[in-house]
Structure formats: structure tokens, C-alpha cells
């Protein structure tokens, strides 16, 4: 499947781009993160500490063990600091 992957804040800066299309057979968010990490050093760096990474599937907060079935957009970002 083709996934639209978005990065925000320092994840965006470490990866070097705000979004990309990713072709993957990953079943869960965690699987996808493993694939990305294995790809290039910048991904490994961005995902080195998952405790400070949050994920949203189709614009809803989700967990790393969430399934990617039917998902079109996934976003990775640090803990939020609005307000």
C-alpha cells in the first residue's frame, strides 16, 4: 500500500522533509517505524527515542501497535506544546 507520511517539528527537521509517499507492507505503526529506521541514518536518528514520538493515523492520535489497515495518512511528531 501507499501511505502519505508526515513529519512535524524536530522530526521534520531530522528527516529533512515534511512529507513523503511511502510504499510499504507494514501491518502496524511499529512495523513501519522499523522499516523507516532501517532505510537511512536520518530516520534512525529521528526515531531513536520513541518515548518522545507521537503518531496520528488519518489525523487521529494512535498507538505504535495500531494497525495500518485502511490508513491513508500517518503523521509522526513530538509531544504537543500548544496553548
Amino acid at each position: 500500500m501507499k501511505l502519505r507520511v508526515l513529519y512535524f517539528a524536530w522530526l521534520r527537521e531530522r528527516i529533512g522533509e515534511p512529507r513523503e509517499m511511502v510504499e510499504t507492507e507494514a501491518e502496524t505503526v511499529a512495523d513501519l517505524v522499523e522499516e523507516l529506521r532501517a532505510r537511512e541514518e536520518r530516520y534512525a536518528l529521528a526515531f531513536s527515542d520513541l518515548a518522545s514520538v507521537r503518531v496520528a493515523l488519518d489525523q487521529e492520535l494512535a498507538d505504535f501497535d495500531a494497525s495500518l489497515a485502511g490508513v491513508r495518512e500517518i503523521a509522526f511528531f513530538p509531544p504537543m506544546t500548544g496553548g
Partner: protein, 147 residues
């Protein structure tokens, strides 16, 4: 009920007045405004990044949750993104209810959830030019647990 996410400045006083004037059957209006803190002249700029689309959804969900929990006549959330200077107003919430306890509780609830559940990130540039992302605070995450 309204949620606005915008880069333009808004007039906090005019928003407060308009909100209070528009509510019916309310005896209490509470507003909160978040201001870019100067921190002793160390800060030059604060840039707010957000996730267009998800931001509006998250704020609307938080507002709907507040309306489900308390008897509110009305609620308003405005949040800016983009570059901001020290002293500028970042965002505001307003709540109106028959009784003050509901208006206060709902405003605090909106703020607590907005802080940690709406996709905004703050980046600071100091007067000396160094930049850094503001880290989330444990106390903000802890604040969610009281609701």
C-alpha cells in the same frame, strides 16, 4: 461554538466582548489568553508549527467533549500559528455557562487538552539566534489526569 486556527493576529479584547455579548442564558463567562512570555528579554521569536486539518479536528473534538461534560451556553477556541513576538497573544479560549463553576472547569479542561492533545509545536529563537523546540512538560501531561 467555534474553533479558529489562523496565522493572523486577533483582537483579544474584541473577541472577549463579542463572545460575552453573543451568549444567551449565561451568567458566567471565563476567558483564557496565552501570551508569548518575554523571559527576561532572552526570546526573540516564537514560531508555532501545526498540523493543518488535524488541528481543527482535534480542537473540535476537545470542544465537543467539554460541551458533553458541562452545561455550556457557548465556547470559543482561537489559536494562531506561524511566527510570534514576545508579548503577542498566541491563543485564547472562552466559555459561557449559567454558573461559574461550569465555565471555569470547562475553560481549564479546554486548556489542559489543547496543550497536550492538539498538534501544535513551539520553536523558540533567542536574542542570540539559537533555536530550540519547546519540550512538553510532565505537569501538562499530569494535568490531563484530573479530568
Amino acid at each position: 461554538m467555534a474553533v479558529r486556527v489562523q496565522s493572523e493576529a486577533f483582537e483579544y479584547g474584541a473577541e472577549c466582548a463579542g463572545f460575552a455579548a453573543s451568549v444567551t442564558d449565561a451568567g458566567a463567562v471565563v476567558t483564557f489568553a496565552g501570551i508569548v512570555r518575554d523571559d527576561g528579554g532572552q526570546l526573540r521569536e516564537m514560531e508555532i508549527e501545526h498540523y493543518p486539518g488535524m488541528t481543527e479536528r482535534a480542537l473540535e473534538a476537545i470542544e465537543a467533549e467539554a460541551r458533553a461534560r458541562w452545561q455550556l451556553s457557548d465556547a470559543l477556541i482561537i489559536h494562531r500559528f506561524g511566527p510570534l513576538s514576545p508579548g503577542e497573544i498566541i491563543m485564547m479560549v472562552a466559555t459561557a455557562a449559567r454558573h461559574r463553576a461550569d465555565a471555569f472547569a470547562a475553560a481549564e479542561f479546554l486548556m489542559d487538552f489543547l496543550k497536550s492533545r492538539a498538534p501544535f509545536w513551539k520553536k523558540e529563537t533567542t536574542a542570540r539566534g539559537s533555536t530550540g523546540w519547546v519540550a512538553a512538560k510532565d505537569e501538562d501531561e499530569a494535568a490531563l489526569r484530573r479530568w
